[in-house]
């Protein structure tokens, strides 16, 4: 089931304070608009709800619960490297006879890291380190709230137009260590960036920030080399579980010789097959990155 076609007029009818709405991207079950509210611009996200959705079951609807978690995280986090909530709070509506939910967030003037890498190739080492340090700040803040992002990947990181500031998006899959799981019994996230322990959903209660550290390691590897450490678009690929849990990727410097050995070491340690082989504190990882 696809999202309905949403027009600028649909948005203005739904949210009269919006003065302009321009489509800004879509993916999976979401459509994003750039909207103007007075002199300020924000991103407005729509996601499809099921046909049978009724407002009185919002408290048990998975899509609504995820969106609530995402907006709650955006409101709670202070890090400049986690996207902030916008003024339009989470709501539901019917457009073209289909149920949708919407909420607004900070509009980031920039480009997704995945697009940056696709267009320009690998980042210089200094930028990889910068990216790592800023994402550490995001992971650290999420963990201080008892949360794991679970979907850190280049597609969920925006680089602001200043070229030096990175922002983590899409906390919709974030896992609350102390709370009820929204996705009990299902593997959620993007498998190519899964930590080995993420494949074991029955074991999820023992996951901690080191799972996000692994996904960040994969992201940094890709940013440093332009290649995914476990998957190649040309080679035949076994199941992600086998690749991620069994395969040891070559050091990034074997692909990009400009990468210093110290950065090799940090990235490979972040991708340790077990949490106990990674850094046990985010601060330790930050210190290691600072020494590069």
């Amino acid at each position: 089931m696809a999202l309905p076609t949403i027009t600028e007029q649909n948005i203005k009818d739904l949210l009269p304070s919006v003065t302009a709405a321009i489509p800004a991207g879509h993916g999976g079950q979401k459509i994003v608009f750039r909207i103007d509210l007075g002199a300020q611009s924000f991103a407005l996200k729509f996601a499809l709800l099921s046909d049978t959705f009724q407002p009185d079951i919002a408290d048990i609807d998975e899509t609504v619960l995820r969106a609530r978690r995402e907006t709650q995280i955006m409101q709670e986090c202070q890090s400049p490297h986690i996207v902030k909530a916008g003024p339009i709070e989470l709501g539901t509506a019917q457009i073209d006879g289909q149920n949708v939910l919407y909420f607004s967030e900070e509009l980031i003037d920039g480009q997704a890291l995945s697009d940056v890498l696709q267009q320009n190739g690998p980042l210089p080492s200094v930028s990889v380190v910068q990216l790592g340090q800023q994402m550490c700040s995001a992971i650290d803040e999420l963990w201080s709230l008892g949360k794991i992002h679970r979907d850190i990947k280049p597609g969920n990181i925006m680089r602001r137009s200043d070229g030096a500031t990175y922002v983590l998006l899409d906390a919709g899959l974030a896992f609350d260590v102390a709370g009820e799981s929204i996705s009990a019994g299902f593997l959620v996230g993007t498998m190519a960036y899964f930590s080995p322990e993420q494949f074991d959903y029955t074991n999820r209660r023992v996951m901690d920030f080191r799972s996000d550290m692994f996904s960040l390691g994969v992201t940094l590897y890709e940013a440093a080399t332009g290649r995914h450490p476990f998957f190649s678009p040309t080679a035949s690929t076994p199941h992600p579980f086998t690749k991620i849990t069994k395969h040891n990727p070559p050091p990034p410097s074997s692909i990009n010789q400009a990468i210093p050995a110290s950065l090799d070491k940090v990235i490979l340690r972040m991708m340790g097959k077990f949490p106990h082989l990674r850094y046990r504190r985010i601060s330790q990882l930050q210190e290691a990155l600072a020494l590069i």
Binding site: N203, V206, R210, N248, F274, H276, L277, R280, Q284
Partner: protein, 395 residues
């Protein structure tokens, strides 16, 4: 220097002598073998000799039946015959932790050791109890101002080390504790008599445990009751290891803490050969001497003089006391050559193992006959364990 005396029954002046010889850094006192009214005086004596002090509360003996607990019942945190039901509920655990740590605080040791229970599988309820006690200990310690650093104690049955999958999960759990600074690890051995043998896969996993805690995660790791194997642990990231004056203090055996039928023969005099990486019988040293190979097996420490200055080993004044002191001296000498680089340490030890194997072969060819506990099987096992360790860690 990273060698501790593992204290036990019959200390006489052994501890003082070891400290004065500068071969040990300090002492790990065991509550079971010291009267509560004497413990402060014992600690004072160590302090006077600038030694470090740790006090192992040996709380784990409370779950052994029938316990051979000697002076433990006098200690306020100890109660004989605790069962699994005694470890259900946070309040109970918090109570055990408080009484065990509070008692240690009165002794002002250099480190506090948490109470624990012995477990034989990382998936057992007893392991979960050990983890719960560890967690409760971290919680309680977090509220103590100015207390010495806490080492979490674990007494792990050797058979638990047969599963690396379960060990990995255990390590994930232990390394997730943010306030943890160190561990005191004891491996409860299955081998019934004293020898350097250790199943290679289990030893490889034991080394991996130390490597992950000490080297990767930067915790202080003290390997209690580890004797020669302590050297291997030091190579891969252990901070210190401990061994005592008798076989029961060199390797941890559960049967030492349970009531046994009286009997057994007194230990025969031994000589610790750093070159053979083993503690051999004096009668074997005599055979080596008679084959003109004495120089090759000597440890190269000052107490060797008692042997070398005599007409022969068996005619020397070598006795249990010299043997005990010489044992610490020899291990200290070996340990002193180790640094903090795991790869370099392992290379050093591998060379020592190869040299010891060659030496054994030469001695046997000369007609020296070694007993079942002093043959070189352990060297092959250590070598295999190091290979497995290499494979697992890519070092």
């Amino acid at each position: 220097m990273a060698l501790f005396v593992q204290h036990g029954h019959g200390k006489s002046d052994k501890i003082e002598a070891a400290l004065e010889s500068k071969s040990v850094e300090g002492v790990i006192f065991g509550a079971r073998n010291e009267k509560i009214e004497n413990i402060e005086g014992c600690i004072e004596s160590v302090r006077e000799r600038h030694g470090k002090v740790l006090f192992d509360p040996q709380f784990h003996v409370s779950t052994l039946i029938p316990a051979n607990d000697r002076f433990l019942p006098d200690y306020p945190y100890y109660k004989v015959g605790r069962t699994s039901a005694d470890f259900v509920g946070i309040k109970k655990l918090a109570g055990y932790v408080k009484s065990t740590l509070d008692f240690q605080l009165t002794l002002t040791p250099d480190r506090l050791l948490s109470p624990t229970v012995i477990f034989d599988s990382f998936e057992s309820n007893w392991c979960q109890t050990a983890l719960n006690l560890a967690d409760a200990s971290l919680d309680y310690h977090g509220g103590l101002n100015g207390a010495p650093a806490l080492l979490l104690s674990f007494v792990i049955g050797e058979q638990a080390l047969g599963s690396s999958l379960e060990l990995d999960a255990f390590l994930d759990q232990v390394t997730s504790w943010d306030s943890l600074t160190g561990t005191y690890i004891v491996i409860s051995r299955e081998e019934s008599s004293y020898s350097q043998r250790f199943d290679s896969e289990r030893l490889a996993n034991a080394l991996y445990l130390t490597y992950v805690l000490g080297n990767i995660n930067g915790f202080e790791v003290i390997n209690g009751f580890s004797d020669f194997c302590g050297l291997l642990h030091r190579c891969v990231g252990s901070t210190a290891f401990a061994t005592g004056w008798n076989h029961g203090l060199r390797q941890f055996h559960r049967r030492s803490f349970t009531k046994q039928k009286p009997g057994g023969q007194p230990a025969r005099p031994r000589y610790t050969s750093a070159a053979l990486l083993s503690s051999i019988l004096l009668s074997e040293l005599q055979q080596i001497f008679e084959n003109g190979k004495l120089e090759e097996v000597l440890s190269g420490v000052p107490l060797d003089a008692i042997i070398t200055e005599a007409a022969s080993p068996e005619e020397s004044d070598w006795n249990a006391r010299w043997s005990e002191l010489h044992h610490w001296e020899s291990l200290h000498n070996l340990e002193d050559s180790l640094g903090n680089n795991v790869a370099d340490n392992i290379l050093y030890l591998e060379e020592k193992i190869v040299a010891a194997q060659e030496l054994y072969v030469g001695l046997v060819e000369e007609g020296v006959v070694f007993g079942t506990q002093t043959q070189p099987h352990h060297l092959e096992q250590w070598s295999e364990a190091i290979s497995s360790f290499h494979e697992k860690t890519s070092i």
